[in-house]
């Protein structure tokens, strides 16, 4: 493979507190050097990056790639290419596929499909329980051996507190986090959107904030009890933020993520029964968005993850009650982050890159998230000022379910490099 010299960009590497114009040389699939005025090695490709940002590739800890089982809405290959188009060099695939990723063969399948796709890296997250049924622990040891980086029953909460306790304890053996979708199913019940005034007006069943917060509180107590690392998926309420803040003050081993949509939309987006605003956890209120934003700023919430959830267009072209939860997110996350959070004055660009690359790598103990010499050659180059309009027809994902269609965003990926090889544009 030819060495790649990315020249003259603004190199932002929050892992080394680096933010300056420099050259980045990638050779043999690794970061060879970062510095000014680097020479061009023999046979190297040179990319001029003046005015662009060069950063460690983005990492998404929470995506649904639907393979095996629903290859009509996404495959590991299309998901990995959509990821690369969004500036992600690695994504973590949730196990709620059909069949469920609860055994080493299923984990191996994802690893193999990801290698064949040759786009963003795909790390499997394995199930906590066999079949995600919440009864018997999956074989964490074998799952980790086959390549799993975490366990989660995402899509379903781990309802049994005993099983969650055992999962957190047992996972310590292998040094992996247990990621939980925090939801009390009896409170969620038939709910389809946030319980509040909008749901009252639309006549839709609500999901109260307490449905999430009860499970957040329980998970924090169990993390304290076991000293096992709990990772809280897609936090959506100001109450959850308060609980996490207190737990972190006490030194409980917890990390937490928030999605771009929970940072940028409220339940108002459900007006008109817009099924592309139907997600679980639901879009909440302006006060929740404010709390999530300040939690992301102060580190209470560690990172941004997309919860990329592709669905067939037919499935969203339904009555609101019957449409599935979730939206695609890989190809809009960076633009939303720059437009809403950086241009909106919440985060600096290095902070955004920290929340989308450095922190995810740290939380799931993944390679990448840094431009240190010898680190994987996983790099994103983006134009922080480029304006573009979200056109779902242009997505590389197989699915189009996004509430951001037509939105003008600032910040667009120019090139994504994985192991020194350009994976986007393909």
């Amino acid at each position: 493979m030819k060495p790649l010299l990315i020249r003259g960009g603004r190199v932002i590497d929050p892992s080394q507190h680096h933010d300056a114009v420099a050259d980045v040389l990638i050779a043999d699939g690794r970061i060879a050097e970062v510095g000014q005025g680097l020479g061009v090695p023999d046979g190297a490709e040179v990319m001029e990056a003046r005015g662009k940002v060069v950063a460690p590739g983005l990492i998404d800890l929470h995506v649904h790639l639907r393979e095996p089982g629903r290859e009509d809405v996404e495959t590991i290959a299309t998901g990995a290419r959509a990821a690369a188009a969004g500036g992600f060099t690695a994504v973590c695939a949730m196990p709620n596929t059909d069949p469920v990723t609860d055994n080493q063969a299923a984990v191996g399948f994802i690893v193999k499909q990801a290698q064949a796709a040759g786009a963003a890296r795909v790390y499997p997250i394995a199930a906590v329980s066999l079949g995600q049924k919440g009864q018997q622990l999956a074989e964490f040891g074998e799952l980790v051996g086959a390549g799993a980086v975490a366990v989660s029953d995402d899509g379903h909460p781990v309802v049994s507190s005993h099983l969650m306790r055992m999962a957190l304890s047992y996972a310590r053996t292998f040094g992996i986090p247990v990621a939980d979708h925090c939801e009390d199913p009896t409170l969620k019940a038939k709910g389809v959107m946030h319980e509040g005034l909008v749901a009252t007006r639309l006549g839709l069943h609500g999901i109260p904030a307490a449905a999430e917060e009860i499970m957040v509180a329980r998970n924090l107590l169990l993390a304290e009890l076991t000293n096992g690392h709990v990772h809280l998926c897609h936090m959506s309420t100001r109450g959850s933020v308060e609980l996490i803040r207190r737990a972190k003050d006490k030194g409980i081993p917890v990390t937490a993520e928030v999605t771009p949509h929970h940072l940028t939309l409220t339940d108002d987006a459900c007006e008109g029964y817009n099924t592309n605003a139907k997600m679980n956890p639901p879009l909440r209120e302006a006060a929740d968005v404010r709390a999530l934003r300040s939690a992301l700023k102060d580190g209470t919430i560690d990172l941004i993850a997309t919860d990329h959830a592709p669905h067939h267009y037919d499935a969203k072209e339904r009555e609101f009650d019957d449409a599935p939860f979730g939206i695609v997110g890989l190809e809009t996350a960076l633009g939303l982050g720059i437009t809403e959070l950086v241009d909106g004055g919440l985060l600096t660009l290095p902070e955004l890159i920290d929340r989308m690359s450095v922190a995810p790598a740290r939380v799931f103990h993944l390679p990448g998230g840094t431009l240190k010499r010898g680190a994987p050659g996983d790099v994103v180059v983006f134009d922080p000022a480029a304006r573009w309009r979200v056109d779902p027809e242009q997505f590389l994902s197989k699915s189009r379910n996004t509430p951001y269609a037509g939105r003008e965003l600032t910040g667009r990926v120019v090139r994504t490099v994985v192991r020194g090889r350009t994976v986007h544009p393909g």
């Binding site: 509040g196 005034l197 007006r201 639309l202 006549g203 609500g206 009555e319 609101f320 009650d321």
Partner: protein, 324 residues
């Protein structure tokens, strides 16, 4: 005759202006008389085809719409979900496209999902009338309740109306709240807090937790049906206790400073939310509501078909005119 007073559809009372609601009520007045004739038929909607699409069981509303349509001389087809392609798994969007392909003029739809009427209306060119969508709205019920109150009091503005019962799951409550507020009434709700929706006060309504307080305050009570499922869903402990705490009884009404007008959208659970002596008593407007239901639905059909309110008297033709 082409200017539309209501737009293409009637999906709810929330999107309507006070003037639009008054237009419908005024238009209903002349249509009341048609139902009193020996030959209850006028040619107003001759040649129009209307599909009554009922995805949920309904007796009163379905029959009321059907009478309204037939008395206006429309051609009607009734489709119930049971035994139709819906039972075979057809989606609502496909049902809509098929109806559209048959070149119908109007659809009257009852559906268990909130927003279903809007969903259909956004996808077909025909007029859509919401005959109840989930727990969202039931606009013609709201309109007939308004008409009944206006008949009784001569006005809506300034009236104190309390809606009693399961507000959380009630489309009738939502349509009544919007209609009454827009026409200047004071609106309250009364029921177990477990059956009141989140943020209901923010709509501009007063909340009474005790039926005795509501009775002291109100000019009229609109008593909602308490569904048995609410007990099984854990919202209330029992129908017996519901009656004891929230039932509208003669004993409670006797303590009111004035005679209250009683409405109920039906079907009633006698002895649960309302006692028989109240339902059958002199201040019950329950059967008047049913009669007004036909007139209001005739008005809505007429207006959506492009009719103008001031032409309604002429449009219905002379009494006794045989049209077919």
């Amino acid at each position: 005759m082409t200017e539309r007073f209501l737009g293409k559809d009637l999906l709810g009372l929330e999107p309507l202006t006070a003037d639009q609601i008054r237009f419908i009520l005024d238009t209903a007045e002349p249509f009341k008389e048609v139902s009193e004739r020996a030959i209850k038929k006028v040619p107003t909607l001759r040649g129009k085809t209307i599909v009554n699409l009922f995805f949920e069981a309904s007796t009163r509303t379905r029959i009321s719409f059907e009478f309204a349509e037939k008395r206006l001389s429309a051609d009607t087809v009734n489709v119930a979900a049971a035994g139709s392609s819906v039972e075979k798994g057809e989606t609502l969007v496909d049902t809509a496209r098929n109806l559209e392909a048959m070149r119908i003029d109007m659809v009257v739809m009852r559906h268990p999902a909130s927003g279903a009427a809007r969903f259909l209306a956004d996808r077909i060119n025909s007029n859509v009338i919401n005959a109840g969508d989930g727990t969202h709205e039931h606009p013609t019920q709201g309109l007939l309740d308004l008409l009944t109150l206006r008949d009784q009091f001569g006005r809506i503005e300034g009236l104190k109306v309390c809606i009693c019962g399961d507000i959380l799951h009630s489309r009738v409550a939502r349509s009544n709240i919007w209609g009454l507020l827009k026409l200047g009434a004071q609106v309250a709700v009364c029921g177990p807090v477990s059956l009141l929706p989140m943020g209901i006060e923010d709509l501009g309504v007063t909340v009474f937790r005790r039926i005795e307080d509501a009775i002291q305050w109100a000019d009229a009570l609109n008593v909602l049906r308490l569904q048995l499922e609410r007990m099984h869903g854990g919202y209330i402990p029992s129908l017996r206790e519901y009656n004891r705490v929230f039932g509208v009884t003669v004993e409670r009404l006797e303590k009111a400073p004035k005679d209250l007008v009683i409405l109920h959208p039906g079907p009633m659970n006698r002895g649960v939310e309302i006692d028989s002596r109240v339902a059958d008593g002199p201040h019950s407007m329950i059967l008047g509501q049913v009669t007004n239901g036909v007139a209001v639905r005739m008005a809505v059909l007429y207006l959506l078909a492009g009719g103008r309110p001031e032409m309604a008297e002429a449009a219905k033709g002379r009494a006794g005119e045989v049209t077919e």
